[in-house]
Symmetry: none
Subunit: 326 residues, 3 copies
C-alpha cells in the first residue's frame, strides 16, 4: 500500500496532515485483518477497528513524496487481532527514506450477516514463544485501558462569546460531517480511518487558531472505538486545547454521532482522543508555543491532567533512550 502525497493531503506549508497518514494506516490494518479473519472456512466477516495505540509522528511527510505503508499481524486473541503498521516516507527524487510512523491497531471481526456478532479469530503461528507472551500482555493492558475510557466521555463543548486570545474558548472548534457511502465499510459503518482523519482536521484547526503558525501532528494518544457510526449519520467532531508545554499543545477531540433519521437512537459519543501538535518554523524547527490561559476550575483540572500525561510520556521516552544507550 502506497501513494503519492497530493496538494490536498497537505497544509499550506506543504506538510502532509497527520490525518491522511492515520487514514492510510487504518486502511492497511483493515485489509490485513479482514483477510486474516476470513482465512478459515466459516462465516464471512469484516474487521472493525476497536483501538489504536498511541502513535508518534517521527518526521513530517511532504507533497510529492510517496508514503509506503506495510502491515503485519503480531498477535491474535480469541476475538481480536493486533496489527503493527509501519509508514515510510520516500522522496523518489533523492531516494531518501524516513520512518514516519509505527502504529499498533486492534481489530474485531464482525459477521457480515449479523453485525452484532463477534466471530472467532484464527490463531497465528509465533516464531518464538516469547512473542505470544508479550502479545498477551499487550492485549491485557489495552483491554484494561479500553474499559477506563468507557467511563469518561459525557463532556460537551460550548461556544464562548468574545473569548480572549490563548484561552480555551478562543481556539475551540467543531465541524460536522454527513457520513457518505465511501466513508463506510461493507457493513455500512464508518471506517475508523475516516473518523481519525476528521479528528486530526479539527485538532489542527484548534492548534493553528491558538498559535497562528504552521503546525503539525506530533502524536496521537490511544483511541478507543466503542461505538460504531452508521452510514447516513451526522457526526460532530469537536476539539479544545487542554494543555501546552513550551513547545507542544495537547488537544482533546470528541466525536458525537447523530443517526438523525433513525428514530431508535439519539445522539451519542462515539470516540474521543488526545492529539499533540507542535509549531514549526519555515526551516522545520519547533517553535515556542503561547501558554494556554485556563479560566475555569475544570480547565485548570484538565491542564494538570494534560501535564501529567506529558510528563509521563517524557519520562517513558527518556527511559527508552537510556535503555537504547546501554
Amino acid at each position: 500500500l502506497g501513494r503519492i502525497m497530493r496538494p490536498d493531503d497537505a497544509n499550506v506549508a506543504g506538510n502532509v496532515h497527520g490525518g491522511t497518514i492515520l487514514k492510510m494506516i487504518e486502511e492497511a490494518g483493515a485489509i490485513i485483518s479482514t483477510r486474516h479473519c476470513n482465512s478459515q472456512a466459516g462465516e464471512p466477516c469484516v474487521a472493525a477497528l476497536a483501538r489504536v495505540e498511541r502513535t508518534d509522528f517521527l518526521s513530517p511527510v511532504c507533497i510529492g513524496e510517496v508514503a509506503n505503508v506495510s502491515a503485519e499481524i503480531t498477535y491474535t486473541s480469541r476475538h481480536s487481532v493486533e496489527v503493527q503498521v509501519n509508514v515510510m516516507s520516500e522522496n523518489i527524487l533523492t531516494g531518501a527514506k524516513k520512518v514516519t510512523n509505527k502504529a499498533t491497531l486492534w481489530y474485531v471481526p464482525l459477521s457480515l450477516k449479523n453485525v452484532n456478532k463477534v466471530l472467532e479469530v484464527p490463531p497465528i503461528q509465533y516464531v518464538r514463544k516469547e512473542q505470544e507472551d508479550e502479545g498477551r500482555k499487550r492485549y491485557e493492558e489495552q483491554k484494561l485501558d479500553r474499559l477506563e475510557t468507557k467511563q469518561r466521555n459525557g463532556d460537551v463543548i460550548f461556544p464562548v462569546i468574545n473569548p480572549e486570545p490563548h484561552t480555551v474558548g478562543y481556539s475551540q472548534s467543531s465541524l460536522i460531517h454527513l457520513v457518505g457511502p465511501s466513508d463506510c465499510t461493507l457493513l455500512g459503518f464508518v471506517h475508523g480511518g475516516v473518523t481519525m482523519k476528521l479528528m486530526d482536521e479539527v485538532a489542527g484547526i484548534v492548534a493553528a487558531r491558538h498559535c497562528k503558525t504552521n503546525i503539525v501532528t506530533a502524536s496521537v494518544d490511544a483511541i478507543n472505538f466503542h461505538e460504531k457510526i452508521k452510514k447516513g449519520s451526522v457526526i460532530t467532531i469537536s476539539g479544545r486545547m487542554t494543555f501546552t508545554s513550551n513547545k507542544s499543545m495537547e488537544i482533546e477531540v470528541f466525536v458525537d454521532a447523530d443517526p438523525f433519521v433513525d428514530e431508535s437512537r439519539g445522539r451519542y459519543r462515539a470516540v474521543s482522543a488526545f492529539f499533540t501538535y507542535v509549531s514549526l518554523s519555515k526551516e522545520g524547527k519547533p517553535l515556542p508555543v503561547p501558554q494556554l490561559l485556563t479560566e475555569t476550575e475544570e480547565e485548570k483540572r484538565r491542564f494538570e491532567e494534560g501535564k501529567g500525561r506529558y510528563l509521563q510520556t517524557k519520562a517513558k521516552r527518556q527511559a527508552q533512550l537510556q535503555q537504547a544507550a546501554q
Copy 2:
C-alpha cells in the same frame, strides 16, 4: 460546520470556487432541516432542497482559510422549512473574520419509505409574532416565483463552428457527470449542493473563456429544484453567457438529467439558474470585462433581459444602502 479550504477547492489564483461554498451551505441546510423534520415521532424522512434564494458572495475565500457555516431554521410552513445559512471565512493565522455569504434555502421533507410522499413539518416557535408573519410573506413570494420558473426552460445550447472571440458561441461550455453514490442523499437522489457545485464549475469556465483572467462568483440568482435526479443518471450541465456590464458577466446554466438505465423516462430539464461573475486583478480589484457580442435575435433578447435583471439588482442595492444610511 467548518472546513479548511484545500487547494482543490480553489482556482489557480487561490480563490475558493463559489460552488464549494454553495455545496457546504446546502449540506448545512440539509442536516438542520432533516433533523428538525425528524424531531417528532412519525415516519422518518429526508429533507430535499426545493429552492435557494438569490445569494451574494461578499468576499472571496482563500486556500488555508477556514469556512465556518452556521444554519438556523427561520420559518416552517406545513410542508416546507426555511433555513438561513451564514458563512464566515476565518484566516486562522491572523484571526481575521469576514462574512462571505448569507443564504436562504427551502427544504421539503420526503418520506424514507415512499419518496413521493411529502410529510408534515413540525412547527417552530417564534420569539415574536412578526417573525412568523414575515416568514409567511417570504413563503408566499417564493411559491409564486417557483411557479414562474416552471414555465421557462426548454432551451438547448448548440455549439458554434469557429466562433469569434467574445461571442456567445465562443465561451459556451457543457459537461456531463455520472451521478455516483457520494453525490446522493439516503433517498438516492442528488444533493442540491452537488448540482450547484457543478453549475458553478461550468459557469466559471464560461466566464474564464470569455475574459481569460482570474474570475470569481459574485452572485447566484434564485434556483428552483423542480425535479429530482436519481443515482446512476447522467447529467449534462451547460452554460452560456447572456449579459455583460462594465465589470460583470451573467451566465445562464441548465442542468438536464438522463436516467438512462430507467426506460420509463427520457431526458428532462432538472434545474436552471443565472450566475454572475466578476474578473479580478492580482490585487483583488474588479477588472473591466470585454463586452459580449450578440449575433442572433435570441441572443440580443437575452442580453436585454439580463440587463433588466442587472439594473433591478443595482436599484435594489442602492435602495438598501439609502435605507441603511438613514
Copy 3:
C-alpha cells in the same frame, strides 16, 4: 500499492470503473520510473507518461475488493523507461484472487528545473541477453506507432439535433474539466492517469447511452501522450462510438486542452484513444449490443476501420490461444 474499492469507484451495478484501475496503474508506473531515473547522481527529474500499450481488462473488480498493483521496470532506452504493471483483485472475504490487468507503460524523464529537457535514463541490468533484445524490439515498435498517431487527430465532434437512437450522434458525449492541483505532478502537468480516468468516464457514458445497460471497460487501445497539459487548463474530453460487433462497442475519445490563461497558445489536441466496452447482464454474462447506425460517409469509414481493428485483435488472440495450446 493497493486500495479497497469504494462505492465512488464503481458504477451502480458495483463494477469498478476501468478508469479507476488505469489511474492506479499509472500512479504505480510514475512512482517506479521516477525513482529509477533519479537513482543516479544528476539533475532531479520527474517521469512523465509517454505511452500506454493496449490493455485488456480480464475480469471486473467489485466494491469492497482490494486492488493490488505491482510494477517492474522491464526495459530502458537512452531516454525512456518501459514499466510492466500487474493488477490483481483480491476478495478479502473469500481470499479469491484474480488477475485484472497487465499493462505496459512508457515514461520519459523530464528535468525538474527545465521541463523541456529530457534527461538520460540509467540503464538496468538484464538477467538474460534476450530480455534486452526483446525490449529493444518493443521500443522500436512503439516508437513507430507513436509517430503514426501524431498524424491523425484534428477531428472534432459536433452535436446532432434530435438524433435517432443507436446513431453516432445519439450517444456522443463530452465533458469539460478544470485542471486542479491534485490532478498534477510536481512539474505542474496533468498525471497521465487522471487523463485516462476522465477518458474512461466519457467512453462509459457513450456506451451506456447507446445500449442502456450495465457496461464495463473491456480494453483500451494504445494511448500516446504527445502533449503535456498544464495546471489551470480547461480540458474537453469527447467521445463517439465508431464500431459495434455483436457483443462489444468501440468508442473513440479525444482530449483537447485549452491553456486559456496562457495567451501564447490556443486549444490543442493532447491525447486520443479507442476504448472497447461490453454490456453485462446481472449475472455478469456479456449481452448482445444494438448495432451502431452509421449515417455519413465519414461514419461508415470509421466503422470499417473499427471493424479492421476488431478483426485484427480477434485474430491475434486466437493465434495466442493456439500457441498456448501447442
